[in-house]
Symmetry: C2
DNA sequence: CGCAACATGTAAGCGGTTACATGATTAC
DNA sequence: GTAATCATGTAACCGCTTACATGTTGCG
């Protein structure tokens, strides 16, 4: 499933412009499916060329024109087909964990800085999830499930790092003490 | 940080062939940094061309020859440089979560199949982490931290799915009952 | 006899990122 | 004035995936 399919999925929930979709990629989808304008606009063009979405140009006063896309019947059928796949991937690519594998080559200060940076990012995500909850009422069960999932693993990540950071940052003699 | 750097990091722990590294990518690194032969062999060639690793060709009887790579002093310096970066990414790309966002377009059976598939994958990871623990003694603190992290979020994922699957697969009238 | 494990590579292609390009309006 | 928000796009590039290509030994 690529950016094209996800855009189509977002449009199944109501019409939107590329700019609107980008905001969704940055907020509710940020923790598991990021995409930039360089992916979104070509995806929408391609969906339009395939007849999977309609496009209406909308003039606005005091603002640039916008292209509002709406899913077609063909598009909905196509989306259902893509969703019928059961072998869906869930991939993680983490420079953070890769670096931690080689912690023995770093100073305690370096490790601490990396860990702090990661915890900060996780906290930003948690703040985002809290914001989502405030306007939770309008959401589908699916979106609630996905955001709950995000919160669950984000909290687990943060807890794990905070509980185990001393195994990497403590001086060797302190580590022996902690092990006793 | 790309496959090249991770290969260099693995070699900082002892000499190995491309084939050996692949096994490590498939086991201990699988849950956060996958790589295939098509990435590994070119990475090793490139590291060799840059003088960051040495290469020794080893003839074996009853088996194909192998190229054993060893990190050089330049390589170690380069690796430390790469590791000094504090802005390390941790990216998730999940078709699974994307599909769950559009659960309202699927049947309960379809959703159940996808959820079951994911739980199976998570269980396979957990079995892998259990295997790792058996020969845990030889590991660095870094590797223990990373595998512990993997287990923590894998368990959290599994628990979350099992606790919340009925919000997506229950019939509408049952959902109302559950909400009360 | 066939399959798994051992072992190394190349090449095409794809999907996504990054940087570039443009321009109006509003708020500080 | 200057930054942020709104708004749409292109093009080069990069890194990874996939498929292809080849060959041996050992085990059941």
């Amino acid at each position: 499933m690529d950016v094209k399919t996800v855009c189509l999925g977002m449009l199944s929930d109501g019409e939107a412009s590329g700019y609107d979709l980008k905001k969704q990629f940055e907020s509710t989808f940020a923790h598991f499916f990021a995409a930039g304008y360089g992916s979104i606009y070509p995806a929408l063009s391609s969906l339009h060329a395939d007849g999977l979405v309609d496009c209406r140009e909308e003039a606005q006063d005091g603002r640039p024109d916008r292209k509002v896309y709406r899913i077609t019947d063909d598009g909905l059928a196509h989306l259902r087909g893509a969703l019928s796949e059961t072998n869906l991937t869930h991939r993680v690519r983490s420079e953070f964990l890769a670096a931690m594998c080689f912690a023995h080559l770093m100073s305690a200060e370096q490790i601490a800085a990396i860990l702090d940076h990661r915890v900060t990012e996780l906290s930003r995500y948690l703040a985002m999830f809290d914001e989502f909850d405030e306007c939770n009422g309008e959401w589908t069960d699916g979106m609630r499930f996905v955001c709950g999932f995000g919160r669950a693993i984000t909290e687990a990540s943060k807890r794990y790092i905070e509980a185990n950071r001393d195994t990497l940052t403590a001086a060797p003699d302190l580590k022996r003490t902690a092990a006793q």
